[in-house]
């Protein structure tokens, strides 16, 4: 009898443990409600110098609170480095989640699949200003034909070069990719202490324009049925061109294979590189470096002389969380935060490039620095596959691994691109 009592106790305990430890799935606690007053919570990214941004945002909020009585908005600026964890946590726990968030545009598809973002297609189309939205920016908020947010700003990369070194060596600004590569080598040969063009094995978004310039692509197909195109001949030509820049004649593999985009910009800013591929958002970092006043920016050249290599259209969006209890208010706030006027103010304050073509044109007219970036955008940009698999491909370092395998001599372009394509297809296969 006493055996059976103990046995029963153990069984009960074991059963309790097993049922207690089933992994959690977040419920949809407040979805569907649409309160017209109360407090809205907003998460925006914390920039390096956040004050000007805060200023612009505060003005928007003042207008919003004036227009809607009995509403309050609390804004939290979250650090960019930990945004992934914060936003995941917000999806997991709707009660402590914000109503409106800023998010990186490569995350759109992943967040939609995670069930975190609200479909705002109807409001987006009814919003008059969006007729001027740049098509690539629109693509960056679209998944399966539905719109999940409003583009906030766009970031694009171009070629930074040292005017003093070019003058000293009597070089002209490269007009094609072949010229770019030969110019880089020439500088390295004349000045062995400098990288000709700083490149990084972990700098995915600096490498992609080379692939696109040769007519290659990351993936082909439709949403839901992507297939990697990295192992196609055109993409391989681009990979070949980019990886040919690693070596003692430009950027030694031993140091450059591990570099990220930030590392290459730092190398340029500290005067260790004659050229680098940097974004409009790198401006401040370069200005703060040793090369201030000794550099200029042009669009990254494409394959044909005089052409521009398609750049990656990075940037951020503003979205509404699916679980918001203030649907109407949150959507209105999103529109105000991403409106033409706010984007114009943000450009003046932070230098963020507007996503509306007309606002961007005006911006370029007042600030000559952004001209090469606006030209790059006007020449046509590319975007990563709008698939939730992209986040996984990006975070499991498929492309950096491929570049690093090639530049360290472990695999040739054909083998490395084939392996990378296989990994991408695996990710597309399991994530759609």
């Amino acid at each position: 009898m006493n055996l059976s009592v103990r046995l029963a106790a153990f069984t009960a305990l074991a059963a309790a443990l097993v049922t207690a430890c089933a992994p959690r799935t977040a419920g949809t606690s407040s979805a569907g409600t649409d309160e017209k007053s109360g407090t809205l919570r907003v998460w925006l990214f914390q920039e390096v110098d956040n004050r000007p941004k805060q200023h612009v945002v505060d003005a928007v909020l003042a207008g919003f609170e004036k227009a809607h009585e009995d509403t309050e908005v609390s804004v939290e600026y979250i650090p960019v480095e930990t945004r992934a964890q914060r936003i995941k946590a917000a999806f997991n726990d709707p009660k402590s989640a914000p109503d409106v968030i800023e998010y990186g545009n490569t995350d759109t598809a992943g967040y939609v699949r995670d069930g975190g973002l609200l479909d705002v297609t109807r409001e987006f189309d009814a919003w008059g200003e969006t007729k001027d939205t740049d098509p690539t920016a629109r693509r960056s908020v679209t998944v399966d034909g539905r719109v999940y947010g409003a583009p906030y700003f766009v970031g694009v990369r171009a070629l930074y070069y040292r005017t003093d070194i070019f003058r000293e060596l009597g070089l002209s600004v490269p007009r094609s990719q072949a010229e770019l590569i030969s110019t880089a080598r020439r500088i390295r040969a004349e000045k062995p202490g400098l990288y000709g063009l700083a490149v990084g094995g972990a700098y995915t978004y600096g490498a992609l324009p080379f692939i696109w310039a040769h007519g290659g692509d990351l993936a082909t197909g439709e949403e839901g049925s992507y297939a990697s195109a990295l192992d196609r001949p055109a993409a391989r030509k681009g990979i070949e061109a980019y990886t040919s820049l690693f070596g003692d004649d430009n950027c030694p593999a031993a140091t450059c294979a591990g570099m990220t985009g930030n590392d290459t910009v730092t190398a340029f800013a500290s005067g260790k590189a004659a050229m680098a591929i940097g974004g409009d958002f790198s401006h401040a970092a370069v200005e703060a470096g040793k090369v201030r006043g000794k550099y200029a920016v042009v669009p990254l050249p494409g394959v044909e002389p005089g052409s521009i290599a398609p750049a990656f259209a990075g940037g951020n969006n503003i979205g509404v969380l699916k679980n918001t209890a203030h649907r109407t208010l949150a959507v209105d706030l999103m529109k105000r935060l991403a409106s033409k006027r706010t984007q114009r103010d943000l450009f003046d304050a932070m230098g963020f490039l507007p996503t509306f073509t007309d606002v961007r044109r005006q911006a370029a007219a007042t600030e000559p620095f952004v001209k090469p970036f606006v030209r790059t955008l006007a020449a046509g940009t590319e975007f990563v596959p709008a698939s939730p698999a992209w986040a996984r491909i990006d975070s499991s370092l498929v492309l950096p691994t491929m570049f690093q395998e090639i530049v360290s001599g472990r695999k040739d372009v054909a083998a490395a691109s084939e392996d990378a394509a296989r990994k991408m297809d695996d990710a597309f296969g399991s994530a759609g």
Partner: protein, 306 residues
């Protein structure tokens, strides 16, 4: 429990009391252990047989039972097998080096005068007290191709330690040994101090060399302590994360320096495949259990009581 089978009613009642009382005493410890150990391990095991990614956590898609599919996926993955092999090799090298350095320095401690002993102790305690991230960053700086003093001292020019697979592993191994030898050294030193002086004296009188004394006198007497530090080191070094993550930039050029823990992190958190990460965790747990139990069993068979 076999006592329950005794037929006499009186003995049974007494037996029951004796049976429950120990449980009553260990209940608090069991509760804490259950909460801190059993629950997470059970979660881990459960997650590893489910399809559980960010989409399931946030309710975008239903959680699905996958059976052993995560494990078959894992073992079909070339990279996983490679990482597993590298981890075992790396951990073994770390354990051997740590024990060798720790024991040698412990013996040295008993041989030197007070002042050098104090200096050595302080240096070791400093290494021990340094947070892993700080230690890794400092070591990385020491071996930096552009600014590091090591390359300059050795006349290596701008040799990049993190570029080659083995040089990167060697660099991390040095850091791991540096931050974990103090534990071995201090523990073994305490053990040596507890060995009666006459024994050592007798050995010395018999003309035994230093090595011979260690081999035939000290090591057998210190066995229980050595067992503990070995098991500890195996567990620590098998689970190295920070050093690899910081020093090789998250796994080295093209993932050449990945170890299981970093790989699991990449799977579970960087790409939100929690179930695959859990499966890696379970595999690690099983390997560590097997190694530890196997080691203890081996010792038991040699007739040692622990």
């Amino acid at each position: 429990m076999s006592r329950a089978a005794v037929p006499s009613g009186r003995t049974s009642a007494k037996g029951r009391r004796a049976g429950w009382t120990p449980w009553f005493y260990v209940a608090p410890a069991l509760l804490v252990l259950g909460g801190l150990l059993v629950y997470p391990v059970c979660q881990l095991g459960l997650m590893s047989v489910l399809e559980y990614t960010q989409a399931q956590v946030s309710g975008g898609e239903p959680t699905r039972f996958r059976g052993l599919a995560n494990y078959t996926e894992l073992f079909a993955d070339d990279q996983f097998r490679q990482v597993l092999l590298a981890t075992v090799g790396f951990a073994a090298a770390c354990v051997v080096s740590t024990l060798a350095v720790g024991c040698a320095l412990a013996v040295l401690l008993t041989r030197v005068r007070a002042l050098p002993r104090l200096a050595l102790m302080l240096a070791a305690l400093g290494a021990w007290a340094t947070p892993t991230i700080t230690g890794s960053t400092v070591w990385l700086f020491l071996f930096d191709p552009d600014f590091g003093p090591v390359d300059r001292l050795l006349g290596l020019g701008d040799f990049s330690w993190t570029y080659g697979r083995y040089s990167a592993f060697l660099l991390v191994l040095l850091e791991v040994v540096w931050c974990s030898f103090p534990f071995v050294m201090v523990t073994v030193y305490a053990g040596i101090r507890a060995v009666p002086g006459e024994v050592l004296e007798a050995a010395a009188l018999d003309g035994a060399s230093q090595w011979r004394i260690w081999r035939s006198v000290l090591a057998p007497m210190l066995r229980p302590i050595l067992v503990v530090v070995t098991v500890q080191s195996v567990i620590w070094d098998f689970k190295v994360f920070t050093q690899i993550y910081v020093m090789t930039g998250g796994g080295g050029i093209a993932g050449q320096n990945l170890v299981l823990n970093v790989y699991a992190y990449q799977k579970a958190f960087a790409s939100s495949q929690y179930s695959l990460g859990s499966a890696i965790g379970v595999v690690m747990l099983l390997i560590l259990l097997a190694v530890t139990l196997g080691y203890l069993r081996l010792l038991r068979r040699q007739g040692e009581e622990l």
